[in-house]
Amino acid sequence: MQIIKPAIAGTTESSDVQIMVSPNNGNGIEINLNSIVKAQFGDSILETVKEVLEAFDVKDAIIQIQDKGAFDWVIRARMQAALCRGSETPFDWKQVE
């Protein structure tokens, strides 16, 4: 999947996460994580984000994460939505678990 335009999903309200993806043609993945629980769950958030990137086969993207203590499945859903918007791919509810 190719990220062709900046896109955003989520909010910065408590228990949510706002994820912004932007194109990074040929320059790989760059992840910028801000989280109120970074010390406790930073690694786990990054793991989730990388998993979604792999599942969608995204090779080049800048990912900015503004986390307000979202659950793992919220992070996953916001990532999926942001990637679909940024690549102008309609979201396939059947394909994604």
Partner: protein
């Protein structure tokens, strides 16, 4: 969120009651209203009174106020989120905020990153290391031991005055970088201004022309709504712009000297140059002010002079005393004719 407050959206350019509501609320917080506000959101209490609002226009979020008794309800975060979503829906994704330094934390908690901070104002953008990506996109090779100079110019349009300043500066340093202001609030569009400069200096081997990106803060973009009446908007804007240039552009690129044309007429530009001489040396950058070139009629050649003459006269031979061949050819073209109309 508190049940006593409802989240509301406003369209001040379309609905006059929305405009009056926002205007009055901002005024009650001693903030000015700006006419380019396209969209606003906020919270109303059970009686329909506005208690918090945030606004945006083009790529700038502004006009934030929250009633002091209600701070701590996380209204800011909800409003910033909503404004960012609204801008993305309108296809505007690189966003900026100007605010007082003490309010920066609200924006930093909502995905904004500081670009420049002075005692009076701060500027943030929603891209992490956006300016580093911009510098990388210029593809400038690192040159540590060379004497590098820079000029920031609007070139609206490129004149013999610009050419004179560039030639003089190019003679004083090993490499000269020209940053052409990218923001399109000028008569001539950026691509035209940029290509005229590029063609107009192509004979000077040590001069490189670059787009400024969104990182030059002009007095047209700088919102003044958050300043109190007695504060001097011109000098606050100049300080912020020059700090951004020195700290985030000139220092990483090893620029040693910033050249600027002397300003004999315009008070705003004069003040800007004055502040430049105060701020640049703090970052180890030398400022050199160069006397302006005068035309055969004895007047200082400036782009504004050319524009005001063009408003009265059709392009012709008279232009040659003010502009180089490339600009002359362009101004006589069909393309220019259409733009000036």
């Amino acid at each position: 969120m508190n049940e006593n407050f409802s989240f509301c959206e406003y369209y001040p350019q379309l609905i006059s009651t929305d405009r009056e509501l926002i205007k009055a609320f901002l005024a009650s917080h001693e903030l000015g209203y700006e006419n380019d506000i396209e969209y606003a959101c906020g919270f109303e209490d059970l009686h329909g009174n506005l208690v918090a609002c945030g606004c945006c226009g083009k790529n700038i979020l502004k006009g934030f106020a929250v009633d002091s008794a209600l701070r701590g309800n996380n209204f800011m975060s909800r409003m910033i989120s909503q404004l960012v979503s609204n801008r993305f829906q309108n296809g505007i994704t690189h966003l900026f905020v100007f605010t007082k330094p003490e309010n920066m934390e609200f924006f930093e908690a909502s995905g904004f990153y500081p670009l420049a901070v002075t005692t009076m104002a701060a500027m943030l953008e929603n891209k992490a290391s956006g300016i580093e990506h911009y510098l990388k996109s210029l593809k400038i090779e690192a040159r540590n031991n060379k004497n590098i100079g820079a000029i920031v110019m609007n070139c609206n349009p490129f004149t013999l005055g610009h050419r004179y300043l560039i030639e003089y500066a190019a003679g004083k340093c090993d490499e000269l970088y020209i940053f052409v202001v990218e923001e399109d609030r000028s008569v001539f569009p950026f691509d035209v201004r940029f290509s005229l400069v590029q063609k107009g200096v192509s004979d000077l081997p040590n001069v490189k022309v670059y787009p400024s990106g969104p990182y030059i803060i002009s007095n047209q973009t700088f919102p003044t709504y958050f300043l109190k009446k007695n504060e001097d908007a011109v000098s606050i804007q100049a300080e912020l712009d020059l700090t951004l240039f020195a700290e985030r552009i000139a220092n990483p690129l090893n620029i040693h000297t910033r050249f600027v044309g002397e300003e004999p007429i315009c008070a705003v530009t004069k003040c800007y140059n004055q502040i430049m001489k105060r701020i640049m040396p703090k970052y180890g950058i030398h400022v050199e002010e160069i006397p302006r070139k005068t035309g055969s009629d004895g007047c200082v050649i400036s782009a504004s002079l050319v524009r005001s003459k063009l408003a009265q006269l059709s392009p012709g031979e008279w232009l040659r005393q003010y502009v180089p061949e490339v600009t002359y050819a362009y101004l006589c073209s069909e393309d220019a004719h259409r733009i000036m109309k």
